[in-house]
């Protein structure tokens, strides 16, 4: 069989590492390497304690969910109704939010860490079976996780009587087949039941109450669970010693676009600022060609945009929210001064319009409508009325004030995140987020486009640096 080189992108540094410790090894995905580097010791420690003690340990570490919403894992596990079994664990490995690149690295490079994390979660929260849902387009991640599961089963680490204990649980590998919205947890569950992957109506707000097959179900992100082995080995005090009180530990962040060194970095949570990340020597080393920064998306394609005015904000939800955006899935996309803003916004609106599942009208119709009008504007065929129409359509998806950042240049005050919405899930609002940000922060680019009816290419670059 051909061996594949590791996917590139990860940039190591002199920083605390929780989930990427093993990335330095070429054979990081093998059981042999995993065990030689403390692997499955966290699970052993967990199994030597009552499961309630493990749950307490996770709660006191406050591991914020890394899938987008940032809900603490230990608290979520406690939301299951009393006395109802079976309960399931569904692992969200569907990673498809524009800009996001971390879960795939964790699955390809350290699959055993994820498996160990799943086992610890099942033990602590009393979950009877685990389904590991991997995005369909990730062939290598599927191979690596399958191989790791086969090794772990054979070594008595998963399945019947884990490590010879009274704890038994299966981890079933499941593949998706290409649909962004399936990353939304209730859509993930629908998909796992063999249905079209459409989000369910809320309430219930958490599948912890009614989830897979109507049973209590915990849905957690790949990175969230990958934190557990380290936590069990080192304890919650060591975990909370990194980062801040409200955002402890580290998180993986992918920085893409017009920086000198795009890459995936494991950063200290809560304290690292966007300026550190974009300009720091240990991170992205500044904007390419020494250009000026025009704007950046701080937390995945769904997040309202920031400009240089927000560079000093740290990766701390309690500060980024009031400033008008969200940290989302740890994806920063950077646009330099050469970027054609309306065209850049269109790439995201295209994405969300394309990925609408069609269940609610404002998203199905509104997303497409935004896409068509914006396309017209970008192509130089738009009118001033079109610009007003964009806002009007947007306000049908998200009534009231849409969050945006403050801008000194424009004398704008920030409108805090989140927004109101008329849709079941966030795909609808996400189609509007880039349009709204672009229109609010760069009105002159739209005005010029409408006045001169001309087009310029998306970016001044061809080949990457």
């Amino acid at each position: 069989m051909t061996t594949f080189p590791h996917a590139p992108g990860f940039v190591a540094g002199e920083r605390p590492q929780i989930v990427t410790e093993r990335f330095q090894y070429e054979d990081s995905y093998t059981l042999e390497r995993y065990r030689a580097t403390g692997g499955y010791e966290g699970l052993r420690k967990a199994l030597q304690q009552p499961s309630s003690a493990v749950h307490e340990e996770v709660k006191s570490a406050t591991i914020l969910g890394r899938g987008g919403a940032g809900f603490p894992a230990g608290t979520k596990w406690g939301l299951t109704p009393q006395g109802v079994w079976p309960r399931y664990l569904v692992v969200n490995g569907d990673e498809s939010e524009p800009g996001t690149y971390k879960d795939r690295l964790l699955m390809e490079r350290d699959p055993h860490q994820l498996i160990e994390g799943c086992l610890i979660a099942c033990y602590a929260a009393g979950l009877s079976q685990c389904f590991l849902y991997i995005r369909g387009e990730m062939a290598l991640a599927q191979e690596r996780v399958a191989a790791a599961l086969n090794e772990a089963y054979a070594a008595g680490l998963v399945g019947r009587n884990v490590m010879g204990s009274s704890f038994s649980v299966d981890v079933v590998l499941h593949w998706g087949a290409g649909a962004y919205v399936v990353g939304e947890e209730t859509a993930l569950i629908e998909s796992l039941e063999g249905n079209r992957g459409m989000p369910r109506l809320k309430p219930p707000y958490f599948p912890a109450a009614i989830g897979l097959y109507g049973k209590p179900t915990i849905v957690n992100n790949v990175e969230t669970l990958s934190n557990l082995p380290w936590l069990m080995r080192n304890g919650s005090a060591a975990y909370t010693a990194i980062g801040t009180k409200t955002s402890p530990g580290t998180r993986m962040v992918a920085v893409s676009g017009h920086v000198k060194r795009p890459g995936v970095y494991e950063i200290v949570n809560g304290t690292t600022t966007f300026r550190d990340l974009l300009y720091g020597e240990e991170f992205c080393k500044g904007i390419r060609n020494g250009n000026a920064l025009k704007a950046f998306v701080p937390g995945g394609g769904s997040a309202p945009w920031f400009t240089a005015d927000q560079l000093d904000l740290p990766f701390e939800a309690s500060q980024v929210g009031p400033a008008g955006s969200m940290l989302g899935s740890g994806a920063v996309m950077v646009m330099d001064e050469t970027t054609d803003i309306p065209a850049a916004a269109l790439t995201l609106t295209n994405f969300y319009a394309h990925e609408s599942c069609g269940k609610c009208t404002p998203c199905r119709e509104g997303g497409t409508w935004l896409q068509r009008i914006l396309t017209r504007v970008v192509n130089g065929d738009g009118t001033t009325e079109d610009l007003a129409q964009l806002v009007e359509v947007g306000s049908m998806i998200c009534p009231g004030n849409f969050p945006h950042a403050s801008s000194e240049r424009l004398g704008l005050a920030a409108v805090p995140f989140p927004y109101k919405m008329t849709t079941i899930c966030f795909v609808g609002p996400s189609a509007y987020a880039p349009v709204h940000s672009a229109l609010t922060l760069f009105p002159e680019e739209f005005a010029a486009r409408v006045k001169h009816r001309r087009t310029i290419p998306v970016t001044a670059v061809g080949a990457p640096a």
Binding site: E97, G136, A146, V172, S191, G194
Partner: protein, 204 residues
């Protein structure tokens, strides 16, 4: 013709057994069918319906929701060029132009020899390595227009046959669990007791 082969039926039964309800195996079985024929045939959908106990209309209902399933033949190689924001910022449109010119087909089309299908794709979770593309879901990172041309030459010359299986084959390693190690699917329809390890006693 084009029902699942005996080997694939056996594999299907193994996969179905892992789930509390057979219908959960639907997407994995559709992948098996696509691996067998390069696309999902009508007969395979009828067969899958029989295996999991749903109508073929239900099978198609689910299958048609997902981007990866094809219901008509596609090229042996499917080139997906990402055009979402990070890739667009780094020159993805130029890649698409070059690929279209070199192949003589537009995005969505297949070359007349049936070898290569070209398609637009959305974010592939490789954004820091933009612009990127996948051939049958195998990545190419930080691709230049020249490299796209080279890639097409290599595919045509069969130089990548070992690395890249034909369209439909995803993972070449499958989960396989021995009967002794497998706990068994936990049915939602049978009220279960609290798991033994939750009784407050240490498990190890």
């Amino acid at each position: 013709m084009s029902r699942l082969s005996d080997d694939n039926v056996k594999l299907s039964r193994e996969i179905i057994a892992r789930y509390p309800r057979p219908k959960s195996a639907l997407v994995p079985l559709l992948h098996l069918a696509q691996e067998q024929d390069g696309y999902v045939t009508r007969e395979a959908m009828v067969h899958i319906g029989e295996l999991i106990g749903v109508t073929s209309a239900e099978v198609y209902g689910t299958a048609s929701f997902y981007e990866m399933f094809r219901f008509e033949p596609v090229g042996k190689y499917l080139i997906n060029i990402c055009g979402t924001m990070s890739c667009a910022l780094m020159g993805a449109h130029e890649l698409m132009h070059r690929a279209e010119e070199k192949l003589g087909v537009k995005a969505g089309g297949t070359t007349s020899d049936g070898l290569i299908t070209l398609a637009h794709a959305e974010c592939q979770a490789a954004c820091t390595e933009a612009p990127c593309l996948q051939v049958n879901y195998r990545y190419r990172y930080r691709v230049t227009p020249e490299q796209v041309e080279q890639l097409i030459d290599d595919l045509r010359a069969g130089r990548l046959a070992e690395e890249i299986p034909s369209h439909g084959t995803l993972a070449r390693v499958r989960q396989s669990v021995s009967a002794e190690r497998f706990v068994g699917a936990v049915s939602p329809d049978v009220e279960a007791a609290q798991p033994s390890w939750l009784a407050g006693k240490a498990a190890l």
